[in-house]
């Protein structure tokens, strides 16, 4: 199909808002989002935030609104974990695959007056549309979503596990998953977001946005795993506000696709907040995977530790842009950002750019980025002990990211990813045939 002119995509996708069945109290956010989206300049090659990530793939489809009926999907896709689970298939809630209602979790469409007020207070307020064009689209199209709310001083005894399944449809669809997490002061919980597809053939565009409010002293462990395959288009954002002494521990892992862009926006809003974010990116074939992180230190005595590692195979392309912005008032900041990429083929590509912008004078900051290839000496060493070339390459690839995998506190997530990645590395590497 021919590509649509750019303006047409920008306008056409907005038309989807018209057919939606939406509660009135979301209207002002939708209208503001629509206005921003419509008026925004469409990113091109000279737009710094999108320089290495062309959006042409979005223009190849004429998207429809996802229909309300539940598609058939393979039930073994969600990772196995004892959790409060919500499953959405192409954005449609699957009650049968989800756990029974829980007081801490409600869908927007089922929210009571008090919950509606809570949603209205935070939704679209944690997320910023500055630097995040697609957050305005998410606002424009928001209809349903998930509110996770943990009251003051409470700790959820189980993780919340939100699964987004993609399956191919007759017509390409836009799915707009929206999650709002409100942690009152000194509460704590664990959130697992899992994006998965049933096959390589996909035709949806997933524009996901997760907003997290961590009140004073609140603690969140957050896992976000994007394993959708090849043809799925995904633009996703995680926006986090950290208030006094709040702690955010994030882990993100993604495989690539035709277009996959994931943004983390972390705001240290009050003194003493801390954030740790580990990320792994694994594009292969001809996939594209782009991680942009932006941490705003707006208050003193906050800390950030960010570690991203990626393995780029075949003819895939990865982008990593990690920005840490330290405002004048953010004295005594401790911030470090480290990015390492392993290219396993001559045609793999990474564009990496750590950015520190420091406007305070009493801070400790470090950043670094390295790009390397599979070590031939290490390959020889492993093979000289009897391991096949495939085994050796797989083991070395695994070793490159293993430290971050081992850092995952939630055993179910760690084991799921461990097994998944061992399969992935084994199958994606060239098979050598040894003579009998």
């Amino acid at each position: 199909m021919n590509e649509l002119p750019e303006a047409t995509f920008q306008q056409q996708v907005l038309q989807l808002a018209q057919g939606q069945d939406v509660p009135d109290w979301l209207n002002s956010l939708r209208l503001a989002g629509a206005r921003e989206w419509r008026e925004a300049a469409w990113p091109g090659r000279r737009t710094e935030l999108w320089k290495y990530t062309p959006l042409a793939a979005l223009r190849k489809h004429r998207f429809q609104q996802a229909c309300g009926t539940l598609p058939v999907w393979p039930r073994d896709l969600p990772l196995q974990v004892d959790a409060i689970r919500l499953v959405f298939v192409n954005g449609v809630f699957d009650a049968a695959a989800s756990s029974p209602a829980h007081s801490a979790v409600v869908r927007f469409s089922a929210a009571d007056a008090e919950q509606q007020a809570l949603i209205a207070r935070h939704l679209g307020h944690v997320a910023t549309t500055t630097r995040h064009l697609f957050a305005s689209l998410s606002n424009a199209l928001v209809a349903d979503g998930v509110l996770v709310h943990v009251a003051k001083d409470q700790a959820l005894d189980k993780p919340v596990h939100i699964v987004h399944v993609a399956v191919p449809q007759a017509e390409p669809v836009v799915v707009n998953p929206r999650v709002l997490v409100v942690l009152e002061s000194h509460s704590q919980m664990e959130l697992i977001e899992q994006f998965v597809s049933d096959s390589q053939v996909q035709n949806s565009f997933v524009n996901s946005l997760t907003e997290i409010h961590c009140g004073a002293g609140a603690q969140l462990r957050h896992y976000r795993v994007n394993l959708e395959q090849e043809q799925l288009l995904h633009v996703g954002g995680v926006h986090v506000d950290l208030w006094r002494d709040a702690h955010y521990r994030g882990f993100t892992l993604a495989e690539g696709s035709v277009l996959k862009r994931i943004d983390y926006q972390i705001n240290h809003q009050a003194a003493g907040a801390s954030a740790v974010l580990d990320g792994i990116y694994l594009p292969r074939n001809q996939q594209l995977l782009d991680y942009h992180t932006n941490v705003e230190h707006k208050a003193p005595h906050c800390t950030t530790s960010e570690t991203f590692r990626g393995i780029v195979a075949d003819e895939a392309r990865a982008v990593f842009n990690g920005r840490i912005h330290i405002h004048p008032q953010a004295q005594k900041t401790l911030a470090e950002l480290n990015n390492r990429t392993l290219l396993t083929s001559d045609r793999a590509e990474i564009d990496t750019k750590p950015e520190l912008e420091i406007y305070a004078d009493d801070v400790k900051c470090a950043h670094g980025a390295t790009v390397s290839q599979l070590d031939t000496t290490a390959q020889f060493y492993l093979r000289s002990r009897g391991l096949s070339e495939t085994q050796a390459r797989s083991m070395l690839s695994f070793g490159f990211i293993n430290e971050l995998l081992q850092g995952i506190e939630q055993p179910a997530v760690r084991e799921h990813l461990h097994a998944h990645l061992q399969r992935l590395f084994a199958e994606s590497l060239p098979v050598t045939v040894t003579a009998p």
């Binding site: 093979r383 000289s384 002990r385 009897g386 096949s388 083991m395």
Partner: protein
């Protein structure tokens, strides 16, 4: 088990590295159970010999042949040589962060066992075996869980090599300057490990720059390698003679 008449037969082996001819028609014959020491000045090709036998990329064989237990060694892939029973203890063992020593060792032992038609070991059985091997080379058990050679001292790396050798039970062990950088205690541990593996069948090529190691691993034959070929062969007393005289006499003899 049938005893092969020959462990290793190297005939007129020539090899080059980065365009430089290093081995020049080297010929050497090793029978089962024998320990051969290869000595010689820097640049004589000592390490090249071990690397060529193990199949290291970048070491180009330009002539000659090598038969290992009657099979054409040079036709085999790197891993095939290992599975057939050739083991090279590295002069500089490689650090591989993120890959646990245990996982690596089990994969290696399983590969060797599968090749011999044996079943893979259970994790439990392997742990037992590995713990025992670690003890025999005086390596703390904690090293099994660490990344392969990650942060190991020089001596710990060499002991890790010997531990791998014990677990893989090769037929031909090539020790490439295993004594370099070892203090006397570590040297004795390594030598004891090697000696414990001498069973009358297994053969050893001990590449070393110094005679010192041969006080502990007593060779049956000593060869002096110079300019890519064996300049002189003898018994263990040759090593002592070299220690006393150095290598300058090689030039005098016009080798």
């Amino acid at each position: 088990m049938k005893q092969a008449a020959s462990m290793l037969e190297i005939r007129n082996l020539s090899a080059r590295v980065e365009g430089n001819d290093i081995l020049r028609q080297l010929t050497l014959s090793i029978r089962p159970g024998e320990v051969h020491a290869i000595m010689g000045p820097n640049g004589a090709g000592k390490s090249t010999l071990g690397n060529v036998l193990a199949g290291r990329p970048g070491y180009e064989v330009t002539g000659g042949e090598v038969l290992f237990q009657g099979k054409d060694l040079l036709a085999m892939e790197i891993e095939e040589r290992a599975r057939e029973g050739v083991f090279l203890a590295f002069q500089y063992p490689v650090e591989i962060p993120g890959v646990s020593n245990m996982e690596f060792l089990k994969a290696a032992v399983d590969a060797r066992r599968r090749h011999r038609g044996e079943s893979e070991l259970s994790s439990f059985d392997f742990m037992k075996l590995a713990r025992d091997a670690a003890k025999r080379v005086s390596l703390d058990q904690a090293f099994l869980k660490r990344g392969v050679n990650e942060g190991f001292s020089g001596g710990e790396k060499k002991r890790n090599e010997i531990m791998q050798m014990m677990l893989l039970e090769p037929s031909l062990c090539i020790l490439d300057e295993t004594d370099s950088g070892l203090d006397i205690d570590a040297l004795q541990v390594v030598a004891a490990g090697v000696n414990a593996m001498r069973d009358g069948q297994r053969s050893f090529i001990v590449v070393t720059h110094y005679q010192r190691l041969l006080d502990y691993i007593v060779p049956d034959h000593v060869h002096v390698l110079a300019a890519g070929r064996i300049a002189r062969s003898g018994g263990k007393e040759l090593a002592l003679e070299l220690e006393a005289k150095g290598y300058s006499w090689l030039e005098d003899e016009g080798v």
